[in-house]
Structure formats: C-alpha cells, structure tokens
C-alpha cells in the first residue's frame, strides 16, 4: 500500500521534475521503505484524529518530498549562491517589454534586500527567490529544517514589504493591485 502511494505521489510530481523512469520508481520505493520505518517507529503517536491510512500516507508524502529535495541537491544545475539580479523581475512575471513600468519597483526591492535583510535572510532570499532553489534543497545545503528556513524567509518577506510600503511602492493592503 505504501509503495502504491509513493509511486502515485512521485508520478504526480514527475512532470515538474527532471526525474523519470527507473530513477523515479527507485525514489518512490526508497520513500515507501523509509515511510514504513517511520510509521513503525511512531505507531505509539497515532492518536486516532484521522483514519490510520491517512496518518500513514503522510509519512510517505514527507519521504517523497525529502527525497526529491535531496535529488535536486545533487543535481548540478542547482545554483545556490549565484546572483543574477536581472532574473528577479521575471520571477514575478514582469514582461521585459514593459520595463519602464517595473524598473523602479525591482530596483527598490534589490536595495531593500541589501539594506534591510540580515546576511542569513539575504542568503535564503537569493537562493529561493533569485536562484529558484527548492526550499527543501536549501534545507539540506544549510543543514537546517524546513520550518527554520521558512521562518527566515517569512521574516525577510515581511521586512521587504514594509520597506516597499515605506517608500510608497505598495500600500498597506495592496494585494491584487495592478
């Protein structure tokens, strides 16, 4: 059952990954095996808040997720600390043909990244936002946890938005404004 769930999850994520065929199936089988170990080791923690199968499936999903993160960590295309700021507008769908509309905004964002963030926040922002490194891959690189990296990025996002609001680029509640 766990193998079936792992294969299903690997296949679901497959189209967006550069992993296919036997390598993807191997990843799924390893995830299922590790999930079985986790389920067995944590049986005493099952509190009946959900069906047992749902609780067990969760470990499979987590293992598939972790193994994909490790795969990208080994993948040579992943660049963790290169800084090509020209890519930043494109990350948010800005059209180069309309640079006059967004040039100031992204220049202000870059200034805020340099002036407002701590070195750790800047490192995480550059890796995840600028270099498109998967968060789980960065977790492995930094020997950290998903929650810890998320909290660093969360605080970076909050500080950057506050800086852009203070400089008149966004209003306090401007989500959806074009």
């Amino acid at each position: 059952m766990l193998v079936r769930i792992a294969r299903g999850e690997a296949a679901r994520r497959g189209p967006r990954l550069r992993i296919t065929g036997p390598e993807l199936d191997d990843l799924a089988c390893q995830a299922a095996a590790d999930a079985l170990m986790a389920v067995t080791g944590k049986l005493g923690q099952f509190r009946g808040e959900s069906r047992f199968t749902t609780w067990a499936y969760r470990f499979v999903i987590f293992e598939v997720s972790a193994k994909i993160g490790r795969h990208f960590w080994r993948h040579p295309a992943v660049q963790l600390d290169a800084e090509d700021w020209e890519r930043l507008p494109g990350r948010f769908g800005a059209d180069p043909a309309h640079q006059a509309e967004w040039g100031d905004l992204f220049a202000a964002l870059r200034r805020a990244v340099d002036c407002e963030l701590t070195p750790r926040q800047r490192e995480v922002f550059v890796a995840i936002v600028l270099n498109d490194v998967p968060l789980d891959t960065l977790v492995i690189h930094l020997g950290s946890s998903r929650n810890a990296i998320y909290q660093v990025l969360f605080e970076a996002r909050r500080k950057l938005r506050a800086a852009l609001v203070a400089n008149g680029y966004f209003s306090e509640n401007s989500v959806g404004r074009s």
Partner: protein
C-alpha cells in the same frame, strides 16, 4: 505584466501562519477535513494560511489529498 501583483502577493505575510512544523503535524487531520468537504479553513485558519504561503507544505498537502481521494495510482 509588470510583476507588481505577484510580488505583492509573495511579500504579504499572514500573522496567523503557524509555520511548517505545526502545519505538518496536523496535515492528516486537515487533509481529511478538506477531503470530506468540512470547513477546514475555518477550523484551522493558521494551517490554511501556511499552506497558502509555503510551497513545499502546500505541495505535501496536495499530495496527501490526492492519496486520500484515491488519485495516487
């Protein structure tokens, strides 16, 4: 497209966001509520806020939901 709305959405933070650890701890309960049509977002607004903002946790949620619904074949 000038990128402004997407950047704004990305930079918005929700103070209710519970973070990855709490969200993943309750993911099985939350996903089952969603799968059964219960108002999971109202019952666990902090988890909903987190899954909306965190790509990896959101992906795990979608995977678990697909498994529950039998889509994992």
């Amino acid at each position: 497209m000038n990128g402004r709305p997407a950047l704004d959405r990305f930079l918005q933070t929700d103070p209710q966001d519970v973070g990855c650890d709490q969200a993943m701890e309750m993911l099985h309960v939350y996903a089952e509520l969603v799968a059964s049509g219960e108002p999971a977002q109202q019952r666990y607004p902090g988890i909903a806020a987190h899954l909306h903002a965190c790509g990896p946790c959101g992906e795990d949620f979608e995977g678990l939901l697909a498994a529950i619904r039998g889509g994992a074949h």
